[in-house]
């Protein structure tokens, strides 16, 4: 059996791995009834879910849903008031330095020193993570080449474009080869091309290096890129699964009828229930129905209620539909609407 151990050992050494190898019993990120109370309001309300190794996990929710609070807790910048969160098996509240060593963080706001060069920023970050000398030099060169900025190493950060700065942020988060990468709204301020580059790069990290990536976002189209999603609303988990699974749960198409007012919508909804024996939902001025063969249903409804309908649409379910189905309201709400 010694040979087995040797092989296993050499595998570990060749991959310089203790990350998910050592903590194979633990999910990269585990939340257990995690709550956070700011005193005046409950920002997180008993969240429990696991993030699997080497997946891109999305945290989707509107502003105020608790994403930022969760991000702060996972990045060890704040101690939760209830429950537990573990990264690579370490408790974020009691073993912050263990967690930090395993985690790369890309904050939403820039964290670069603009008076330093790109290389100096990376060297500094490396020093904070206990890297030094030639090893750090090599590592800085590697990550910079990875994000396609090898030729800008000697330039002051203040001379870079927004997209380039974000790439340096990413390189900075990866300098210590973390097994978990946390990104807070990574697409903020990026043009479409730069967004595509970013997502391609995250996939490479996942596929080639087995990095577990957690991304917070309020953008539906960005959430579509994730392997799995947790949808948050008012501090609670409202949905968990892959985008495809979540949308498949809705079944069929989303048919939507726009009317002139919320009252008209309610009348129409009542009419539809009576006539077609389905349960439509009313969202503002609109009546929504989940239905197989949406286009056929649509014509039937329009013929049955002439004049009551302003416009119609039929679509494959989107993540927004998942959100509406689970919460009963739209993704984007005005502050005063939130209470209802």
């Amino acid at each position: 059996m010694a040979t087995v151990q040797q092989i296993a050992q050499s595998l570990q050494e060749s991959s310089r791995s203790v990350g998910s190898g050592e903590f194979s019993g633990h999910a990269p990120i585990e939340l257990d009834r995690l709550s956070h109370d700011y005193g005046s309001r409950l920002a997180l309300d008993g969240l429990s879910f696991d993030v699997r190794p080497a997946e891109i996990f999305g945290l989707l929710g509107p502003n105020g849903s608790g994403k930022t609070t969760l991000f702060r807790i996972l990045s060890t910048l704040m101690v939760p008031t209830g429950g537990q969160a573990h990264i690579a098996g370490f408790d974020v509240a009691t073993e912050p330095n263990r967690v930090r060593q395993q985690t790369g963080i890309v904050f939403q706001a820039t964290s670069l020193d603009v008076k330093l060069t790109v290389a100096e920023n990376l060297m500094h970050q490396g020093h904070l993570y206990g890297l030094r000398g030639a090893q750090l030099q090599t590592r800085a060169k590697d990550v910079l080449a990875r994000v396609g900025l090898a030729d800008r190493a000697r330039d002051l950060v203040e001379t870079l474009s927004g997209g380039q700065k974000r790439r340096v942020e990413l390189a900075k988060g990866l300098i210590h080869s973390p097994s978990v990468l946390l990104l807070d709204e990574p697409s903020t301020g990026l043009d479409p091309g730069a967004r595509i580059d970013l997502w391609n790069y995250l996939r490479i990290l996942r596929d080639e290096q087995g990095v577990t990536v957690l991304v917070t976002t309020h953008l539906m189209e960005e959430a579509e890129h994730c392997d799995r999603l947790a949808i948050l609303n008012a501090g609670k988990l409202v949905a968990l699964g892959s985008p495809t699974e979540l949308k498949a749960e809705i079944g069929g198409d989303i048919v939507q009828f726009e009317t002139r007012s919320p009252e008209d919508a309610k009348t129409l909804a009542a009419g539809i229930t009576q006539r077609f024996a389905v349960q439509p939902s009313v969202v503002g001025n609109a009546v929504r129905v989940e239905r197989e063969h949406g286009h056929r249903f649509l014509t039937e409804v329009v013929e049955a209620f002439p004049g009551a309908i302003e416009s119609v649409s039929v679509a494959k379910p989107s993540l927004e539909d998942v959100f509406i189905q689970r919460t009963g309201h739209r993704f984007w709400l005005e502050k005063n609407e939130e209470k209802s």
Binding site: L77, N97, V114
Partner: protein
């Protein structure tokens, strides 16, 4: 034959365990270095270090000597006071440079840089040490540059006196930068920092024996001066610059109080930084 199950995706990137321990010196060195690099990248600050003592000296020195000459019957008073004022002037320069250098802490916080430092696996003491030593180095350099004016102030001092004075300047720089750190840490606006600084700094300097000696002050004023730790720093600098002169306190007391001041403010900075709370860190 034994089969070995190989994970389909072996992480090639996890950090080796040896680096998982919290280190102090590398991060502190890195933060210290950053302060210096930022300093010489901003040319206006470099010019300021050289030019401000010069300007200060020309204006104040000339002004004082004229005023005192008209008052003093034999002209000796003027040169005497300029000599007396010299250590106080150095301390003032150091005081301002040291405390204002910690404005960068507020800037770091607002620019997001501090966030990435706080999220790193380092001891918070490394942050204090790096930032405070960085600011202190700049303040000390500023004070040392000022020593060039010794001959102009009628101060003739040997190599030991210069070395002693430089050490005292370094200690005062450290203590005052740490004081600035404590004030700047909880703040999020440089304007508020200015307001507090003016409230604290000016009295701290005026009542430090820089302008008039504690021995000549009376009543509560004297008590305040004796309570002011900077008084002993100024006096210690006098010990270095005028070895023959008898100062208000003995050199030993001056040195002990100054070292104690350094220790107290450093521990204070360490304490404000080491709070982990349920509130956002930055």
């Amino acid at each position: 034959m034994a089969t070995v199950t190989v994970p389909t995706r072996v992480p090639t990137n996890a950090v080796s365990k040896s680096t998982a321990t919290t280190s102090l010196w590398t991060p502190a060195y890195s933060l210290w270095r950053r302060e210096l690099v930022r300093f010489y990248r901003q040319k206006a600050r470099v010019v300021g270090v050289i030019a401000s003592p010069l300007l200060f000296w020309l204006v104040l020195g000339a002004g004082f000597s004229k005023t005192f000459q008209t008052q003093g019957p034999n002209g000796g008073v003027a040169s005497h006071y300029v000599g007396y004022f010299f250590p106080g002037a150095i301390v003032m320069i150091v005081l301002f440079t040291a405390i204002f250098s910690m404005m960068s802490l507020i800037q770091d916080r607002n620019e997001g840089f501090l966030l990435s430092v706080l999220a790193a696996p380092i001891s918070r003491s490394a942050i204090v040490l790096g930032k405070v030593l960085g600011g202190a180095t700049l303040a000390a350099i500023q004070g040392w540059v000022f020593l060039v004016f010794c001959p102009l102030a009628g101060v003739h001092v040997g190599p030991f006196g210069i070395l002693y004075s430089m050490s005292i300047i370094a200690l005062a720089s450290f203590a005052l930068t740490a004081l600035g750190f404590i004030i700047a840490w909880p703040m999020d606006s440089t304007q508020a920092f200015h307001a507090v600084i003016n409230l604290v700094l000016i009295p701290l300097w005026l009542l430090s024996g820089s302008v008039f000696p504690a021995s000549g002050a009376s009543g509560w004023m004297k008590t305040l001066m004796l309570l002011n730790p900077l008084t002993y720093g100024v006096d210690a600098l006098r010990n270095g610059l005028f070895p023959a002169q008898i100062t208000t306190f003995s050199p030993e007391i001056n040195l002990i109080v100054t070292l104690g001041f350094c220790a107290v403010v450093f521990i204070g900075s360490w304490a404000v930084v080491n709070r982990r709370t349920n509130k956002p860190a930055a």
